[in-house]
């Protein structure tokens, strides 16, 4: 009993001790992948604490995709929430819509040391929930087309150009799909499709379709342009066979398929650079994604937000600004963490260039003009469950129209519910 009491007391104290040698402690909940930890521990935290001697940052790092949000929820339910949280476009909308995060729109407007003009507009747009901003973006990337130059050279094909349409793209993908032993199971594919909510929307948009209406109150995936967009994307694997169908990828992730030279093209973000630089033995480059009736692509990002119930909103805001500011932007570039959301650094000539960046690296920044965050309605948890309906289209076991109809019906139901 004594031991238990002691443990409780220790845990309680350590948690609620918001002071450390007279400094105010800000707890920062952030992802614990090794490269991030290094960046946080060696760059962000020491530099911030040097600039703000009265604040101490305590890092609460957590691993895992599902585990990350589950642990955060447990901290909140247990009434010991962190002060500042790192989110991505996947989980941010849910927590923002739940009213958990501090509205920073007002803070940003009234703070002369910060201008929202300094941040990329499509990222801010993706972060606004019902018109309000609940965090500041730190880094982002558009999704563009990566291609294996060696395989294009080998097939005697011209590299993807900025004006590539879907037809040009399929023509090249066909030429790049090689079945040498004729067993119907190609050794090399032109492309790889991904059943991911932030990949396929680009193809629906490019075909002139929409997923949700502007107010995110109605699903438009049963409209012909949307159906045809998704059909084209899924049929690259299921009918045209220029991309590996389910089970044809040797269990490798899409990234690994590209890195091992088994697929010639992939749509990916600049976050992928980090692993590719060390791993890929062939020559590669990036290009804008192919267009159909319009140019379109998706956008992914990371941001930091303040938990509404924090006892130190002022200090948390200082930290938030720092994480999205100039020094952090340089540190992000150094760590190979895609593109800083802070424009003055990201757009400075040559700022992003490293010894290994490919020739047409500017494709990422050019794509900002037409990139959007994939829909993340405030009912994102239910929406992501509805997304599993699309599996049937990606597997090619049910007509795409039927899948789109069921998806639309279910999503409309989801959107009618409160978040």
């Amino acid at each position: 009993m004594l031991v238990l009491a002691a443990l409780c007391a220790y845990g309680g104290c350590a948690r609620h001790l918001a002071q450390d040698e007279g400094r105010i402690v800000i707890e920062w909940y952030a992802p614990a992948t090794p490269e991030f930890l290094k960046l946080y521990r060696e760059e962000f935290i020491p530099e911030f604490e040097r600039q703000h001697p009265d604040i101490k940052i305590r890092l609460n790092a957590s691993l895992g995709d599902t585990g990350y949000d589950a642990k955060l929820l447990t901290l909140i339910a247990g009434d010991i929430p962190p002060d500042v949280v790192h989110f991505t476009q996947v989980d941010y909308p849910y927590f923002a819509a739940k009213g958990l995060l501090l509205d920073v729109e007002f803070l940003a407007e009234s703070d002369p040391s910060l201008s929202l003009q300094d941040y990329f507009a499509p990222v801010l747009d993706g972060m606004r929930v019902k018109g309000r901003l609940y965090g500041l973006p730190s880094d982002f990337s558009t999704i563009v087309l990566f291609y294996n130059r060696d395989l294009f050279d080998h097939a005697n094909l011209a590299y993807p150009s900025a004006n590539w349409t879907w037809d040009d793209f399929v023509r090249a993908a066909r030429r790049l799909t090689v079945d040498e032993n004729g067993d119907g199971n190609p050794e090399q594919f032109g492309f790889v499709t991904q059943n991911s909510y932030n990949r396929w929307p680009a193809w629906v948009w490019a075909n002139g379709g929409s997923i949700l209406d502007r107010s995110e109150s109605r699903c438009l995936m049963d409209k012909p342009a949307a159906v045809e967009g998704l059909r084209f994307y899924t049929e690259l694997a299921t009918r045209m066979h220029v991309a590996p169908a389910s089970g044809q990828g040797a269990g490798q992730s899409a990234d690994d398929l590209f890195a091992s030279g088994r697929v010639a093209m992939i749509c990916n973000s600049r976050y992928a650079y980090k692993s590719m630089f060390n791993m890929i033995p062939f020559k590669w480059d990036v290009a804008p994604p192919p267009r159909q009736v319009r140019r379109a692509t998706t956008l992914i990002w990371g941001c930091n937000a303040i938990v509404r119930t924090t006892r130190h909103p002022k200090q948390s805001w200082e930290f938030l600004k720092f994480l999205s500011g100039r020094e952090a932007a340089f540190a992000n570039i150094k760590a190979g963490n895609a593109i800083p959301a802070y424009k003055p650094v990201a757009l400075a000539p040559g700022a992003l260039k490293g010894p290994q960046t490919p020739e047409h690296d500017s494709a990422f920044l050019e794509a900002v003009a037409y990139a959007r965050t994939a829909p993340t309605p405030v009912q994102f948890a239910d929406y992501s469950e509805a997304l599993t309906i699309l599996d049937d289209a990606f597997l090619g076991i049910r007509p795409v129209e039927d899948v789109c109809k069921e998806f639309t019906r279910t999503v409309n139901q989801v959107l009618r519910e409160r978040p």
């Binding site: 599902t66 949000d69 589950a70 929820l73 447990t74 909140i76 339910a77 849910y94 927590f95 739940k98 009213g99 958990l100 067993d183 199971n185 389910s246 089970g247 044809q248 040797a250 269990g251 948890a381 239910d382 992501s384 469950e385 599993t388 599996d391 049937d392 597997l395 076991i397």
Partner: protein, 293 residues
């Protein structure tokens, strides 16, 4: 007077000995169990305050197509994997009950899979099931040009999980083995004198005397089969197209991916009722075939 104080001291000792379990149960299990019963009548996302919802969650159970799907999947898994697993475990136990040299080594070898870490062996099985490079399909390609895609195929993913479940037959095997060794040698001698062959011995001596052990293993296997989670979570995440969406995986997704803790609690209590019903049914039916010597 002395005896009562002795019995009192024994009772105290007894309570002391079971206290770690009792304390553990009261502190870590009883509270959450009651809490989840309460939650099952509420909407809760862990962020905002729980909101009383009456029978909403239970009504939703009846209307949720994925819940029905997960129940069917789980039943499929149980109906196939339990008998297969028990037959394999019994067969292995019979083999390992022979008097051969180095039997201890064989017993260890066959039990080993049951004590290896679940997630690690599942990664191993994912390689075995790999449609192109996996050992299983390399072998099958000797006979057919198009072996199953296993975990990537709607129809083969569940059989793959069931096949893999046989890997853990060692636990039941060990209990069977202990049961076999409890059968008195005289009975086999007597039946030999009566002219019984080994098949008849198996049918009329081994099975009846082993029936309490078979029953125990059967009940445990049925319960476990309704609680399978890790395999589907690690290897398929319920896919492709919900083909391996097992009940507990769907429960987990509701709780920790879609944050519907009230609904997940209702699912947990439905599972409790289902398992309780099946177990009572098993006990009922056991009167017909289990012999307690």
């Amino acid at each position: 007077m002395k005896t009562t104080s002795l019995s009192r001291r024994e009772a105290l000792a007894g309570w002391l000995f079971v206290s770690p379990w009792v304390l553990g149960f009261v502190i870590f299990a009883a509270g959450p169990i009651l809490f989840s019963l309460g939650l099952s009548f509420a909407h809760w996302d862990a962020i905002t305050r729980p909101e009383f919802a009456g029978l909403d969650n239970y009504r939703r159970l009846a209307r949720d197509p994925l819940l029905i799907k997960s129940l069917i999947n789980t039943a499929y898994y149980a109906v196939v994997s339990v008998p297969m697993g028990l037959c394999l475990a019994l067969g292995l136990a019979l083999l390992l009950n022979q008097k051969l040299r180095a039997m201890g080594l064989f017993r260890t070898l066959f039990y080993l899979p049951s004590v290896t870490s679940g997630v690690a062996t599942m990664m191993l099985w994912m390689w075995l099931f790999n449609p192109e490079l996996g050992l299983i399909n390399r072998f099958l390609r000797l006979f057919t040009k198009h072996p199953p895609l296993w975990l990537s195929d709607v129809h083969w993913a569940m059989p793959a999980l069931i096949l893999m479940s046989l890997w853990g037959a060692g636990g039941a095997m060990l209990i069977f083995l202990a049961g076999l060794q409890n059968i008195p040698e005289e009975l086999y001698e007597a039946s030999t004198l009566d002219g019984a062959g080994s098949l008849q011995q198996f049918r009329h001596v081994t099975i009846p005397l082993l029936s309490p052990v078979i029953f125990f293993n059967f009940v445990m296997a049925v319960i476990a089969s309704f609680q399978v989670f890790t395999a589907a979570f690690i290897m398929t995440n319920g896919g492709p197209s919900h083909a391996t969406l097992l009940y507990v995986l769907y429960l987990f997704q509701n709780a920790f991916v879609y944050f519907r803790l009230g609904y997940a609690s209702a699912m947990a209590w439905l599972l409790f009722v289902i398992i309780l019903f099946l177990t009572l049914l098993n006990f009922r039916l056991s009167k017909r075939w289990v012999h307690y010597g």
